[in-house]
Amino acid sequence: MKLAVLSGKGGTGKTFVSVNLAAAAGSATYIDCDVEEPNGRLFLKPERLTSKTVTTKQPAFDAEKCTGCRKCVDFCRFNALVYVKAKPMLFSEVCHSCGGCRLLCPSGAISETEKPVGVVECGESGGVRVVTGCMDLGEASGIPIIKAALAEASNADELTVIDCPPGSACSVMESVQSADYCLLVAESTAFGLHNFKMVYELVRLLHKPCGVVINKADGEYIALDIFCREHGIPVLCCIPYSEKLAWLGASGQIAALADSKYAKLFHSLLDDIRKEACV
């Protein structure tokens, strides 16, 4: 089963929940798709690391063959190409690597080159295979790295936990697309609820079954409860705010491995998710 963990608001506890579920499962693949700032590895501390470079395609122009027809410049809907001093000029961070300019060029003046944009790092942490997508500094889009990281998912019946980026934009959609079930981590605050509604809308749009974990719960937050009830979203688990958890997190430990109470909580959450996902 592929399980995507997402939240909308950052700092809600996606990585906390993802890492603990993978650790509780014992045998699993954990994929960190938060490629701008992957941090699951700080807790899982994978060993025997291997790393693969991720590249995207970029157009390259042959000045001899270019006739200056500007078809490529006019075609680019991202405006990544301009035509100055009788030659096309590329703004690589704006290019989406669609390859359209190369297909369109009537004089065959455009070829494609590979541009490195990040790495996918693989390692092991006990029985958990840890896959980390890391985007290079200064790059604008993490999508190619997310795709490469997701390609490392285990195909078998084994659990794959996809730790999504925050928000509800394209990088989250990319991370969620292959998931069988979406676990929404919600924070019981007005800001948390606002962003939770946005990711809920996203998973509905993608027709994904989903359930909720309320994290850092501090008493009751009626608005969140009402929203979940009205939309029939199962609340699978409620993790109260605790100093112990904050301390374990700050010292880089995994609660499900360090404390039997949390081991039980995450095992039970995992069972509930498996039941829900089968429905």
């Binding site: 405006n79 301009v82 100055v84 704006v94 999508i143």
Partner: protein
């Protein structure tokens, strides 16, 4: 010499537009013929890369100078490649800026906004 200013409206008394890439119009003033024309900025509605597309428009209209309150790095790179000078507009009065530039009172722009405003 052809001078371009991003403007909010298609008339001489229009204010200077604070945005370059998403300005609705560009005023193109030719100091030799003393003529002024307005070009609709087709880049204003672009989803992304508006600054680049607007810069292309400026290059294509044969301008020598851009007067603007600010400008993005990508657009500046295009204008620089086309040897179009960018001077910093002072205040939002179009006619005053045009006069100030011709009297040599507007300095070259040295600071540009980061080229990337968000791509997903």
């Amino acid at each position: 010499m052809k001078i371009v200013i991003p403007v909010d409206e298609k008339k001489p008394e229009s204010s200077v537009c604070v945005s370059f890439g998403r300005a609705p119009y560009f005023m193109l003033h030719d100091t030799e013929g003393k003529t002024t024309e307005y070009i609709a900025n087709t880049a204003a509605e672009a989803q992304g890369g508006a600054g680049l597309k607007a810069a292309q428009l400026i290059v294509d209209c044969g301008a020598n100078v851009l007067l603007a309150p600010r400008c993005g790095q990508n657009a500046a790179d295009v204008l620089n490649a086309a040897q179009i000078k960018i001077h910093k507009a002072e205040g939002l009065r179009t006619a005053e800026n045009l006069a100030a530039f011709q009297e040599g009172k507007l300095t070259l722009m040295t600071q540009f906004q980061a080229g990337f405003h968000g791509r997903q």
